[in-house]
Symmetry: C2
Subunit: 150 residues, 2 copies
DNA sequence: CTCCTAATCGGAATCGTTCCGGTTTTATTC
DNA sequence: GAATAAAACCGGAACGATTCCGATTAGGAG
């Protein structure tokens, strides 16, 4: 997915082309990692110092509904990242320090579908949490990791 | 894990034997499914109508730290369940309707450790979400599922 | 029973998120 | 380009989960 494709999806669905929304998509595309609403809001400050939190949440919800971003939640917060370039279904290693992620193409559910004949499966998640090399280095230099919640 | 084993773990670690805590463990053991803090609090009302929310959260945190309960979070809330009888590491199918869960013994991380030589892995989660037969029936009888968030 | 302190209470504070009435921006039509 | 309708946004209040804190209660050692 590119920013242009994302904006196109929104336009085709009848949503207006708003500058704030475009900037949000731009940031999400550039950062290419999981961001909290707050992080995104802070990055928007430069261009829109008056930006309302409502705008962030409303648009993140929309982008999620449109399949432009993927969402996960841990450590009490929801986190969003621009949908990876990879078209196929996949999972992630996620750095708890910076939100960077690495794709894991295997989907464990593939081997397990047969186990749940009577249950109605509506979703699943498989995530590996840890610290990327850069954040490990940062921890060695500084005061160490925070408490791992997972 | 049984309630007795759990209380023993707490005692051995130097924690006092409090009646509220014991009742919490009892409920978690009996329910044998994922509960939110609120659900647990409601179930405690019968015995302790004056119970403070702080007591629920403080003890859930303690039980989690002691490995007596496992925690996951989805739909904006943390959910806790008594640690399954199975000793070995495993994962869950979780019913979004009632929190019931079914064990999945395969761990997808087993086949993937070699992929993350430079990352420091501190945890992972693999969960399958859906509706158990009983909740599917309830949905057919009633007003249907809520929106699935996963 | 007495004493010490862990455990609890209750009520305020915090934090992420949502809601709402009023205002601004975008797209359309003239 | 002006007029118009609706989407998008703002600011601030509201909400729900969770945490914090000073005062009180209760477990258990002596």
């Amino acid at each position: 997915m590119t920013k242009e494709e994302a904006m196109r999806l929104l336009e085709d669905a009848g949503y207006r082309h708003s500058r704030r929304r475009e900037r949000m998509v731009q940031i999400l595309a550039d950062e290419d990692r999981y961001l909290t609403a707050r992080e995104l809001w802070e990055k928007m400050q430069a261009a829109y110092p008056e930006l309302s939190a409502d705008t962030i949440y409303r648009n993140l919800g929309l982008l999620h509904d449109m399949g432009i971003v993927t969402m996960t939640e841990f450590q009490g917060e929801r986190r969003y990242r621009f949908h990876c370039g990879i078209r196929d279904h996949h999972h992630h290693f996620i750095c708890l320090g910076c939100g960077a992620s690495e794709e894991v193409l295997d989907c464990p559910l593939d081997h397990l579908q047969h186990r749940f004949k009577d249950a109605a499966i509506v979703g699943h998640r498989f995530e590996i949490f840890g610290y990327c090399p850069a954040c490990q280095q940062k921890a060695r230099d500084g005061e160490g990791y925070g408490t791992a919640l997972v």
